[in-house]
C-alpha cells in the first residue's frame, strides 16, 4: 500500500490495492458464512429436534465452540494444510481457500448454536401442529428452517461479524501475502506493526463501514421479505 497516504485518500482515489483487499475480505468471509450456514443450520436444526443421550453435552460443547480463539483454529488448520500435514497434498496453505476453510470452522459453531436456539423455539410453537399433521422428521427440519429464515439471518450476520473481524486465523493460514491473501484485518495488523497508526485506524474505519453496510443490507432484505411473507 502506498506510503504516507491516509485511508480516506485511498478510498477517494479508488486505490486498486485497497479494493483488492476489501474484495478478498468480503469473498473470504461471505464464502465462509455460506459454507458454515450449509453445515451449521441443518446441524442446529437436527439437534433442536432430536433427543439423544448427551444432547445437553452437545449443546454446551457447541456453545463453548463459539468462543474458540481464532488463533487456535488457525493453528489447527495450518498444521492440517501444511505440506508436512495430513492434507499437505492439496497445496492450500497460504491461499484464500485456506482462509475460507479456517473461517468456516470458526463460524460454523456460531451459526449452529444460534440456529439450534432459534429453531428449538419455533419447534415448541409448531410441535403440536406438525405432529397432528403427521409431518416426517426431514420435512419438519425443512419446514422449521424455512419458517425461521428471517431469524436465521441474524445468526448468519453474527457469523459474518466474527469472520470479518478476526485476524488470528487468516493471518496464520493465509500468511498475509501482499495482493494475494491480505485482507482488511491483516492489513490493519501490518500497518500497526509498521507504526502507521493513522492508516491502520483509517482501514479500521473502512472495515466498520463495510460491516455496517452488509448488516444494513441484510436488515433491509429481512424487513422487505418479512412484509411479503409474514
Amino acid at each position: 500500500m502506498p506510503e504516507n497516504l491516509s485511508a480516506l485518500d485511498l478510498v477517494l482515489t479508488g486505490d486498486p490495492a485497497l479494493f483488492a483487499i476489501v474484495r478478498l475480505a468480503l469473498v473470504v468471509s461471505l464464502s465462509a458464512v455460506l459454507l458454515a450456514a450449509l453445515i451449521g443450520v441443518p446441524l442446529g436444526a437436527a439437534i433442536a429436534l432430536s433427543s439423544f443421550r448427551g444432547r445437553d453435552a452437545a449443546i454446551v460443547f457447541l456453545n463453548a465452540m463459539m468462543g474458540l480463539p481464532p488463533v487456535v483454529i488457525g493453528l489447527i488448520v495450518y498444521l492440517a494444510l501444511s505440506r508436512s500435514g495430513p492434507l499437505g497434498e492439496w497445496g492450500l496453505l497460504f491461499t484464500p481457500q485456506a482462509m475460507v476453510i479456517a473461517q468456516t470452522i470458526l463460524v460454523t459453531p456460531i451459526i449452529a448454536a444460534l440456529a439450534r436456539q432459534t429453531i428449538e423455539d419455533l419447534w415448541l410453537e409448531y410441535r403440536d401442529e406438525l405432529t397432528a399433521m403427521d409431518v416426517r422428521p426431514l420435512r419438519r427440519i425443512t419446514t422449521l428452517v424455512w419458517d425461521a429464515r428471517f431469524s436465521l439471518i441474524t445468526a448468519l450476520l453474527a457469523g459474518f461479524g466474527r469472520a470479518a473481524a478476526e485476524v488470528g486465523a487468516v493471518i496464520i493460514v493465509g500468511g498475509n501475502i501482499d495482493g494475494f491473501t491480505r485482507t482488511m484485518t491483516t492489513a490493519i495488523a501490518l500497518e500497526t506493526s509498521k507504526g502507521n497508526l493513522p492508516l491502520a485506524i483509517g482501514l479500521g474505519l473502512v472495515l466498520i463501514a463495510i460491516v455496517l453496510a452488509v448488516n444494513g443490507l441484510a436488515w433491509a432484505l429481512r424487513r422487505a421479505a418479512e412484509r411479503l411473507a409474514g
Partner: protein
C-alpha cells in the same frame, strides 16, 4: 440465490487452481517486509522474470519452521547460525549471503540514564541491566531476538538470573516491539531498516550504533526439494540467482528512505 452463491464459492476455489501458477512462496522476516524492501524490489523481479513472489513475513525462527515443513520454496532470513543449522539438517540446499544492515539500540531521546553515552553496546546493556531500565525484547525467536540474546551473552550478563520487571518479553514482531517501546519510553534493539521506515517513533531516538557486534547479515536458501518434492525448484533458484546477481544487488542498494540506504548488498563476500 443460494445456487448462485454456491457457484461463486466453487469458482473462488477453482480459479486459483486453474490459473497458470507462476509464483513462489518466500518465507521471510518482518524486517524485510515492514521496512518496505520487498515492496520495492519484488516488482523489479517480476518485470524481468514474470514470477510472482508471495512473501509470508514472520520472525526468522518461524520462517525457518515454515521452510522445514515445506510450506515455502525459499527462506530469506537473518540469523546466520540458525541458517547454517537449517542447511546442515538438510532442509535448505545452500545458504547464500545477500545483504546486511545493522542493529541499533533505540530508547527515550532524553535518555536520563546515559545509555547513549556508552562506549559500545556491551556497556550500554550493562547500564540498562544495572539501572533496571525498561527494555523490550521481541521474545519470538526472530533474527533480532537471536541477535539480542547473543549480545547479552557477549556482555557477560546472565539474563536468566538478572532479568526482572525491567525486561519485558512481548513475543511479537519488530513493529509491535517498537510500538511498545514508543508507548512506554523503553529501550529496544531493532534493525535499522525497520526503524527508518517506522512511523510511530514518538520520543524514541537512536542511542547506540556502529558497534561491529551490531552487524546484521541476511541470507537466502532454497528449501531442499529432496525433502519436499513439491518445492518449485527452478523458480525458487531463479529468485535466489536474481537476488545475488548484479540486478538484485543493485535493487537492494537503491532502496532508500529519505535518501538513506537501508540495506547493503554483499552477496560477493565469502565470509558474510
Amino acid at each position: 440465490m443460494i445456487r448462485r452463491l454456491l457457484l461463486a464459492v466453487a469458482l473462488a476455489f477453482a480459479v486459483p487452481a486453474l490459473a497458470q501458477d507462476n509464483s513462489i512462496v518466500v518465507a521471510s522476516t518482518t524486517s524485510t517486509q515492514d521496512s518496505g524492501l520487498f515492496g520495492d524490489i519484488l516488482p523489479l523481479f517480476k518485470r524481468s522474470t514474470g514470477i510472482d513472489v508471495k512473501v509470508v513475513a514472520l520472525g526468522t525462527g518461524q520462517a525457518l519452521d515454515v521452510g522445514r515443513r515445506g510450506d515455502a520454496d525459499v527462506v530469506f532470513v537473518h540469523a546466520r547460525s540458525e541458517e547454517e543449522k537449517f542447511v546442515a539438517e538438510g532442509f535448505g540446499v545452500k545458504r547464500h549471503p545477500v545483504m546486511y544492515n545493522d542493529f541499533i539500540v533505540v530508547g527515550p531521546r532524553s535518555d536520563p540514564a546515559g545509555v547513549g553515552k556508552a562506549r559500545d553496546v556491551v556497556e550500554a546493556l550493562h547500564i540498562i541491566r544495572d539501572k533496571g531500565l525498561p527494555f523490550i525484547s521481541r521474545g519470538d525467536r526472530s533474527g533480532t531476538h537471536v541477535a539480542e540474546l547473543k549480545l547479552w551473552k557477549e556482555a557477560g550478563i546472565d539474563l536468566e538470573r538478572d532479568k526482572g520487571l525491567w525486561y519485558k518479553s512481548i513475543g511479537q514482531g519488530m513493529g509491535a516491539a517498537l510500538n511498545t517501546a514508543s508507548a512506554a519510553d523503553a529501550y529496544v534493539l531493532t534493525d535499522r531498516g525497520t526503524w527508518l521506515s517506522f512511523k510511530n517513533k514518538g520520543g524514541l531516538a537512536i542511542l547506540v550504533q556502529g558497534d561491529k557486534r551490531l552487524f546484521n547479515q541476511y541470507g537466502v536458501m532454497l528449501v531442499n526439494p529432496a525433502k519436499h518434492p513439491h518445492v518449485k525448484k527452478a523458480k525458487g533458484q531463479q529468485f535466489i540467482d536474481w537476488l545475488i546477481a548484479r540486478e538484485g544487488q543493485d535493487a537492494v542498494a537503491n532502496y532508500k528512505i529519505n535518501g538513506e540506504q537501508l540495506f547493503f548488498p554483499n552477496a560477493g563476500d565469502p565470509n558474510a
